[in-house]
Amino acid sequence: MKALLASLVLLLPLAALAQAPVIQISGATFQPLPLALSTPLTQGGEVKSSAAAVDDALLFDLRASGLFQVLDRASFLADAKEGMTAGSINFARWADVGAEALVKYTLTREGDALKAEARVFNVGNGREEFKTAQSGPTAQPSQLAHKVADAIYRHYTREPSPFLAPITYVRKSGSNRDVWVADWDGRNARQVTQGGINLLPALGPDDQLGYTSYQQGKPDLYVRKPGGDTIRLKTNDGQMATGIAFSPDGKRVAYALAEDESAQIWVANANGEGARQLTDTRFGINTSPAWSPDGKRIAFVSNRGGSPQVYVMNADGSGVRRLTFQGNYNQTPNWSPRGDLIAFTARDERNAFDLFTVHVDTGKVTRLTQDQGNNEEPSFSPNGRLVLFTSTRNGPSQLFVMTAEGNNHLALPGQDKASITTPDWGR
């Protein structure tokens, strides 16, 4: 056993060397990889309808990843009947449309399961680089697509994809505002609250979902556990609690508690006990707490300097430091899971809301959106590569995704005209 362990330890660095990522995402020279996704080969007529849904979701995942230049199928020159193995593929025809990577996949159905086998080829040398077999429920074909996309993403980057984590948001319907949970791309949406005013949902580890609700006439915090039980965090009469945020380990929650004319940041255990006040400004507002990925710091918004700005403090309330100095209205901070950046919403001199990131150590501010309606409420993907946000560029407030550098803006598919706000991407 010891010998086995020792040999494993010896082999690990070698394995790591052999597993160097194909796509290096960081760096100024990053260029998306031109990738051709061929239409799925299906077996059996009943797979056809699911195939369109799988294909649609897979195309969206690959496009939204920011890693790939997904080639237009209208340009394809290959024979539609071309096979799945390197020997049967005419790589010259794929090279002629500019592809450097080729993904071919088949879909089959076995009972209630939908199965996909995908193969990734290097067009330049005509070799099969990687293959994966995945399965998912026939009723939710897009979930199978996310698994295939995740495998492809991992193959190229050696890091987890953002495609398997859920999102939550608030959807307006008449006078109601309800919390919904959906797959990362907005598909398979499930309504969590039933009517009334429900706001500021947040996903925590272990499928915890927290939100603010006016069920009892004033804003209170609720946490729904994985089994579906929902608890209300205790507050005193007259206290208004809003904007819950789970610590990365899920053991603590931060929120804003308002009384009289001021709002302060508090931290409590996940069940609401052991609450402790972190900020203490006599007047003014401290709100929108956001945890750092190591759980040691909390970003928040405070108007103690005269206008709402993003501040950072230690998780015990010490070491408060102002982080943003540009503009006079910065809010909704969201800490990148990579730890280096905080994304936030800023209102500029034209009264338009746009998204920025600020580097936590250097204070360097980078603009992500401009001249495309109001863009608000950024939320990083679990791997920190993408940002989910709301935008009014197409009319009502809708969900969009872009890269953390502000590139490749895409509206999530299938949104109706309902107004959607305050998205949060689960970890």
């Binding site: 237009d72 209208a74 020159l77 025809r93 002629d96 500019g98």
Partner: protein, 153 residues
């Protein structure tokens, strides 16, 4: 004296041929590369026009559009219908990145067909079209050289 013929507000009839569209096409295709055929291996058999001109080094694999003697059009090795050519080129990531195309047309293809193909390429946003010619018998426009270029793969 030109004024004399322009009486009143009547318009002057142009009697010349309107060459503007042709000039448009040709201006866009101003940069013409002469490429030696063996540099680019293609599966379509074409009798190339012969010309003595310096060869341009093709650094990497370029997109080649071939027209064979039967006027069939090929992008690389894949036959493309003339009606679809513009769309195929407009969506082709390689063509759009390079804005460049090499034309490999059989010497027996009428000039009009070549111009049609060039115009489709122009509409698809391709600004540089290089002509592939065969330099080996350059300038000797003799019938005897015809046919011996059939050996291409």
């Amino acid at each position: 004296m030109g004024m004399g013929s322009n009486k009143g507000s009547g318009r002057v009839t142009m009697s010349e041929i309107n060459v503007t569209p042709m000039v448009d096409v040709m201006l866009v295709l101003l940069i013409i590369f002469m490429v030696t055929a063996p540099l680019i291996q293609q599966g379509v058999k074409v009798n190339l026009p012969e010309a003595r001109a310096a060869a341009v080094e093709a650094s990497d694999k370029k997109l080649v559009l071939s027209i064979d003697a039967q006027r069939r059009v090929y992008l690389g090795e894949a036959e493309v219908l003339m009606a679809e050519l513009e769309k195929k080129l407009a969506t082709n990531a390689k063509a759009q990145a390079d804005k460049e195309l090499y034309l490999h047309a059989d010497r027996d293809v009428p000039y009009g067909v070549v111009v049609d193909v060039m115009a489709a390429a122009q509409r698809a946003g391709i600004t540089n079209v290089g002509m592939i010619t065969d330099p080996s018998a350059g300038g000797r426009a003799s019938a005897s050289s015809k046919g011996k270029k059939e050996a291409r793969r």
